[in-house]
């Protein structure tokens, strides 16, 4: 398992960022100064610049951008984390089975990942979301669908390196079932890799979700989403550049947090 002990600076910074996002998402109604879906500023169809009352400005409909950013953390985190969880579960299960059973199971599963990895992820996700109509659930599932294959590949390789180790052979000789061998003996030893991949793939799912939102294939309005906020601000890039600036910064902040965490875990495994 992962050795407890002193956290490295990458883990501290990344963990703080991730934690702050969770807090903001959980307590959005308390933290947000305004209702994210209602016009709170006088507007004549123009976005308002940042001011003391509205630190991130107001959008073309007079809504407070800061409040929308705070609420936007909810959708991003829900989609990013649950898509990661689904992709990790499927990927780890597929990789474990392929590496452990070998033979036909491995053949079928690994050729499937080969095929999936040749298909363009974003394009495939776009097509599926457009067909199935964007909703929280479809977006989440589609993102997991294009994200599990990389995990499966790595987990298979790690499992292969474990199955012939003495401790696994010993457990097998004692009559442990396949399920028990996989879960009790192989799993704990590939856990460090799984944790690294979980953190890194969260940054992947967050970016994919933001990209889909930017293309108009995210969670439908009026739910605030960072990607769509960047998209909606495109036509104002001359007159109101802050409108695109803040939501993009929010995406960067979240993705960076999970990347830092992933690299932190990685460094803990093999300190250079």
């Amino acid at each position: 398992m992962i050795r407890a002990g002193r956290l490295n600076w990458l883990e501290i910074v990344g963990g703080t960022i991730a934690l702050s996002l969770v807090v903001v998402a959980l307590f959005a109604p308390v933290i947000a100064p305004h209702d994210p879906t209602r016009a709170v500023a006088q507007t004549f169809g123009d976005p308002g610049p940042p001011s003391l009352a509205f630190p991130c400005g107001t959008d073309q409909l007079g809504r407070d951008v800061l409040s929308r950013l705070i609420y936007g953390a909810r959708v991003s985190l829900i989609v990013g984390l649950s898509a990661m969880a689904v992709a990790m579960t499927v990927g780890v299960a597929a990789g474990l089975c392929a590496g452990f059973f070998g033979g036909w199971t491995e053949m079928v599963l690994m050729r499937l990942t080969d095929v999936m990895l040749t298909l363009p992820g974003l394009l495939l996700a776009m097509a599926f979301v457009a067909i199935l109509r964007p909703s929280l659930l479809t977006i989440l599932l589609v993102i997991s669908l294009v994200s599990w294959t990389g995990v499966a590949r790595v987990v298979r390789a790690e499992t292969l390196s474990m199955t012939n180790r003495d401790f696994v052979l010993a457990a097998r000789a004692l009559g442990a079932s396949a399920g028990r061998l996989m879960i009790r003996h192989v799993m704990p030893n590939i856990m460090p890799t799984v944790v690294v991949m979980a953190a890194l793939s969260t940054s992947g799912t967050l970016l994919l979700d933001a990209g889909l939102s930017f293309l108009g294939l995210g969670v439908p309005p009026p739910t605030p989403s960072w990607g769509r906020m960047v998209e909606e601000s495109q036509i104002y890039f001359r007159t109101a550049p802050w409108l695109a600036f803040f939501p993009g910064l929010a995406i960067l902040y979240a993705v960076l947090g999970f990347n830092l965490l992933g690299y932190g875990f990685l460094r803990r495994r093999n300190p250079q």
Partner: protein
């Protein structure tokens, strides 16, 4: 070597066949009726039936699939419903813009990534290495569509000579390719740094140092040559990805490439065009995989013997 080559090509063909099967399935999850998409909602049943017969939609699925693969092998990917042109023709027409962007983005990311990785490798464990680590992590975390938008903001305010969109000569390439390149440059520099760290501990490097070669020469001539190998694989596959179109960047910069084409196809639920662009990307990836494998076997003779 020939045996290896044949094995790789056969494997690639098999993967491509699988990809074609998945693309073919896309057509059948789409609720839109192709006949209605072509003739319009007001068409009479007789017209619709004629179109279905013409397209072979009344045949059993496996026959439709075999016909689809057979035609695809001859370069015929069907006709776009929305644009009423051949899908292959549309892809060919959009390819130059995407290829120009792909080449310049790839060149930029390799140059920047190698520089970053080399410097980080040379200053391993010191402040500069950590600084470069943070910089590259930020680069890989930036959403490309936002970076592109920020470039547009900057260009509109300060660099009036830069075109704000479209594909029109070298100057128009600068912003989109830089936006694309920075993320992968960050990634490449990390990979290179890690590989350098591994290589530097090996005996032949110590031998080169012991010979009295300068540190710069050891780094560039001896360490880099081996450490850069894994980048060949990564860059090769990324290049295929770039060549198949970059939807987000092309959207921001209004770039007339394959990414925009695919985006429009998805929005119109233009089935042949969606299938065509997906299959074309899969083809590029498989081809790139093959080229990379062969290149690798040539650069590092140990690989295909194993």
């Amino acid at each position: 070597m020939l045996h290896y080559l044949i094995k790789r090509i056969a494997f690639g063909a098999l993967v491509l066949l699988g990809a074609s099967l998945i693309t073919f399935c896309i057509a059948f999850v789409i609720p839109a009726d192709p006949a209605v998409a072509i003739a319009g909602v007001k068409a009479d049943p007789h017209t619709l039936a004629t179109i279905r017969t013409q397209l072979g939609l009344d045949r059993p699925l496996y026959i439709q699939y075999v016909r689809y693969v057979w035609r695809a092998l001859h370069g015929d990917l069907g006709r776009s419903y929305a644009r009423r042109q051949s899908v292959t023709g549309l892809i060919v027409a959009r390819f130059p813009a995407t290829a120009a962007l792909a080449v310049s983005a790839m060149a930029l990311s390799l140059i920047l990534g190698t520089l970053g990785g080399l410097v980080a490798g040379a200053y391993r464990g010191r402040a500069l290495d950590n600084l470069l680590l943070i910089a590259s992590l930020i680069l890989v975390s930036i959403p490309v569509f936002w970076l592109g938008t920020m470039f547009l903001v900057g260009a509109a305010a300060h660099f009036r000579w830069l075109p704000l969109g479209g594909f029109d000569g070298m100057r128009s390439l600068l912003m989109p390719s830089l936006a694309l390149a920075l993320g992968s440059a960050g990634y490449y520099s990390r990979i290179l740094q890690a590989n350098l760290a591994e290589v530097v501990g090996q005996d032949y490097i110590r031998a080169a140092r012991a010979k009295g070669l300068s540190p710069v020469r050891v780094m560039l001539r001896h360490a880099l040559a081996n450490a850069i190998l894994p980048l060949v694989t990564l860059a090769g596959l990324d290049f295929a990805g770039l060549l198949s179109g970059v939807v987000l960047t092309e959207t921001v910069f209004n770039w007339p490439g394959l990414g925009r084409l695919a985006f429009e196809a998805v929005f119109n639920l233009d089935i042949p065009l969606i299938m065509g662009t997906v299959l074309f990307s899969a083809f590029l990836i498989v081809a790139a995989n093959l080229v990379v494998d062969l290149l690798y076997a040539w650069l590092d003779p140990r690989t295909h013997l194993a």
